[in-house]
């Protein structure tokens, strides 16, 4: 697929992230751009996911509020947003397919917390939907 042309906003932003097993892993809330050492145009190095990224993108008071919520939930961790390296991206189609399972991604922090502290305690949480 060398030379494929995409528009970041049209084809990447706000797209669904799907992990290796077909599970949903968040949306592309922002993209990390890195300038190479030797000069030249920046490259997309990672996908940024979560309220910390989305808040900055929404901008204004609304965005600041979303970012503040993210910082609260971050339970003391550094305030940077969850990052999915582009090395883990398998394919960009109508969704962005990843080659790793959800659990290995930083995006799973909140899900894991909710599972461990709330939903996991309810009887039947781990029962397959048969």
């Amino acid at each position: 697929m060398a030379g494929r042309v995409l528009d970041a906003g049209l084809h990447l932003l706000d797209r669904q992230l799907v992990d290796r097993d077909g599970r949903l892993a968040g949306k592309v809330d922002d993209l990390e751009l890195t300038f190479p050492d030797g000069g030249g145009p920046p490259r997309v190095t990672a996908i940024l996911v979560g309220p910390a990224a989305l808040g900055r993108r929404l901008g204004g008071r609304l965005g600041a509020w979303v970012e503040a919520v993210a910082n609260r939930l971050g339970d003391g961790e550094d305030r940077r947003p969850a990052r999915v390296s582009f090395a883990v991206v398998k394919r960009i189609g109508s969704a962005v397919e990843l080659s790793a399972p959800k659990a290995e991604l930083e995006t799973d922090r909140l899900e894991a917390w909710t599972r461990d502290h709330v939903i996991g305690h309810l009887p039947g949480a781990s029962d397959a939907p048969d």
């Binding site: 060398a2 995409l6 990390e32 920046p42 490259r43």
Partner: protein
Amino acid sequence: MRLTDLLGAEVIDQEGRSAGRVHDVRLVQDGPPVGGFGASLRVAGLIVGARGIGARLGYQRRHVKGPWLVRVLAGWLFHDGRYVEWDRVQTVQPDRILISVPVRDLSQPEALESG
């Protein structure tokens, strides 16, 4: 840097004229390889205009046809879109991007086939 730092920034030429705001960033997949994805995505240029609502709906793509009413509206909203190649970008500041080519010399962005 994040993509958001580019989106929405005002694009100004050396004479101080504004080309509008950045509505999208064109990427080309021809950078050094990264992991399982293949060649990485490199920033090729900026899509700029005064009004950008139409751009997001995706009607500039040639194969998107209907509904007619919406397509016409989107086209009108986006009709002044312009393209700035990345090598014409001089400095990136918060909310301002300075370019080295005059605004009147900018051409329209090419419509993409599909995505």
